[in-house]
């Protein structure tokens, strides 16, 4: 076996090139630089954007985005609280009389609603609390027939003294379910008097009875009774005279009014047609009715009375 000089075999011609005394460290430095470059490129290419530092910071940087405020238009003027659908109220003044405390409200229809289409409740149950803790329960709610939107809640209160008032709460609202229809009876001219009472089923529980209907030349009246309604009903009627061809001859109607719910009542009619003003040709009375059957809705709407003026 000949001994091969491996050192000679791997020897490069450049090995004899004189690089000076530092050439070994230069080779290492070159390798180091190349390694840095390659390492950097590998990290960048493999790591992608996530590895690309864009910000160097020693702590968490927090930015708060500026979100524009959402401006919400109020459904009601300031100070009003909704107490029925599309209807809000505000206490305006308190009257203290000898045996009664009266809290007067104004009310408004909601923004965008039709004030003529908003239904007022027919009443309700209220609690008045004084600053000293005395609680009064309402006896009646009075609606302004001639002052739309205004109503007063009355409280019996004997010997209340110089009380300060804290809050008023609506505990119940008396809503109404409306039923409408008509019933007919023959008409043979005025003066007209109903011969047999009209019994009209309003729904499966409630019956409207008309025991008396009188129609004269220019006026008339109708008595009504309600059965089967737990809290009564508000009843309105008009008497429409029609001929054999079912054409309208004229109408008896009661003046527009706030109808108090109850179990019986009388409506006074006036002839509504100015010309021609007779009832010639009429053969039938169509008694058209609306019956608002009262139903109780539980609520809890509380109004502060802190800034409400008190009249004594």
């Amino acid at each position: 076996m000949s001994e091969i000089d491996y050192e000679e075999l791997i020897r490069s011609p450049l090995d004899d090139f004189d690089r000076g005394p530092s050439s070994p460290w230069v080779a290492m430095l070159g390798g180091l630089i190349a390694g840095l470059i390659v390492g950097y490129l590998v990290v960048v290419l493999i790591g992608g954007d996530e590895a690309t530092p864009t910000t160097v910071a020693s702590s968490v940087e927090t930015t708060t985005s500026t979100v524009p405020a959402e401006m919400v238009a109020l459904d009601y003027p300031a100070g009003y609280l909704e107490f029925a659908p599309d209807l809000a109220a505000r206490p305006e003044v308190i009257y203290v009389e000898d045996n009664t405390v009266i809290v007067a409200f104004t009310s408004v229809a909601s923004r965008g609603s039709d004030p003529a289409a908003v239904s007022w409740p027919h009443g309700g149950s209220w609690l008045l609390q004084t600053a000293s803790g005395v609680t009064l329960r309402s006896s009646r709610v009075v609606f302004g027939a001639y002052s739309p939107g205004s109503f007063s809640v009355r409280f019996p209160a004997a010997n209340l003294g110089p009380a300060e008032f804290g809050t008023i709460r609506m505990l119940e609202r008396w809503d109404a379910e409306r039923y409408a229809g008509s019933a007919s009876t023959p008409f043979a001219g005025e003066p007209f008097e109903l011969t047999d009472p009209l019994s009209i089923p309003v729904n499966q529980d409630v019956t409207l009875l008309v025991p008396r209907l009188q129609l004269g030349r220019f006026s008339g009246s109708a008595e009504w009774q309600i059965s089967g309604a737990q809290m009564g009903a508000a009843v309105d009627m008009t008497a429409v005279l029609v001929d054999d061809a079912d054409e309208e001859v004229g109408i008896f109607a009661a003046p527009a009014q706030i109808l108090d719910p109850g179990n019986e009542g009388i409506l006074d009619f006036n002839w509504q047609r100015s010309f021609p003003n007779d009832q010639e040709g009429a053969t039938t009375v169509d008694l058209e009715y609306t019956v608002d059957v009262i139903d109780v809705t539980a609520t809890d709407v509380m109004f502060s009375l802190d800034d409400v003026p008190v009249e004594r």
């Binding site: 390798g31 180091l32 940087e61 104004t106 001639y146 527009a256």
Partner: protein
């Protein structure tokens, strides 16, 4: 041997680069930008119902118009619009019931402040649609106009119980109820009710009615009425109720005009 040194250097470079990259990556995580996004604040804006500068008194909106100054007098025109609901559709309204949109609250007392700091008062009535102020001097300029008094309708629902006797009398807040005559017949009883009203007419509306619906209002005259009971069983007394209202004075401070344009 240089190749070996180069390789060693290369290896160290790669490791250092990796370490640096890792280090920078760590710094990148530390430097995470956190964006705090919160729900937009909800601000209840007093958005006008009709126009900027309007003033709301009860269920009525006061819409200020033009301000004119003529010969030492300042005039502010305004309009009124109601927001109140009504129970009745328009086709059922009688001449007395107020339709929706009609103002029920009424401006009454106004204060004008001049730029020089002096204050003068103006008053308005139910049908007024402008208010005038006598300025302290013809050259005065208007700084602000403030509504400081207005009227709010209050339905009292008060009542008085009277015996069915001629001459029976009872007091209500706004007048005296008297049974002027009682006519008892075999088939009916007719009671004529007079009402002697007190106070300024524009400050209230009186509408008498019997609480018991069996008493029919068979006629009205002035503030009184005629009641009829059909049958021979009329009760001994009648509860007379006032279904009207009284315009109650309310004081406050609502800026209606500001020379600064607020």
């Amino acid at each position: 041997m240089n190749a070996g040194r180069f390789a060693a250097g290369f290896l160290v470079g790669v490791i250092v680069a990796a370490v640096l990259a890792a280090g920078l990556g760590g710094q990148e995580q530390v430097a995470t930008t956190t964006t705090q996004t919160t729900a937009p604040p909800v601000v209840q804006s007093q958005e006008p119902w009709f126009q900027p500068g309007e003033a709301v008194i009860g269920a009525t909106v006061v819409l200020p118009g033009a301000l004119n100054i003529d010969d030492g007098t300042a005039y502010l025109s305004f309009d009124l619009v109601g927001l109140a609901p009504t129970l009745f559709p328009d086709d059922r309204l009688s001449g007395l019931a107020m339709p929706a949109g009609d103002p029920m609250e009424l401006p009454e007392i106004w204060e004008l402040a001049t730029v020089a700091g002096e204050t003068v008062t103006g008053t308005t009535g139910p049908s007024s649609r402008s208010v005038s102020f006598d300025l302290p001097s013809p050259d005065d300029e208007v700084a602000t106009i403030t509504l400081v008094g207005w009227r709010v309708p209050v339905p009292f629902g008060e009542s008085v119980t009277l015996p069915v006797e001629e001459g029976a009398t009872g007091e209500l807040r706004r007048g005296t109820v008297t049974f002027a005559s009682v006519l008892e017949q075999s088939i009916s009883t007719i009671v004529t009710v007079d009402f002697d009203r007190e106070g300024d007419l524009w400050q209230s509306w009186v509408e008498l009615r019997p609480r018991d619906g069996h008493w029919r209002v068979s006629g009205r005259q002035g503030g009184g009425m005629q009641l009829t009971w059909d049958g021979d069983d009329a009760p001994d007394s009648i509860v007379i109720e006032d279904a009207g209202y009284e315009l109650f004075p309310v004081t406050g401070s609502i800026l209606v005009y500001d020379e600064a344009g607020l």
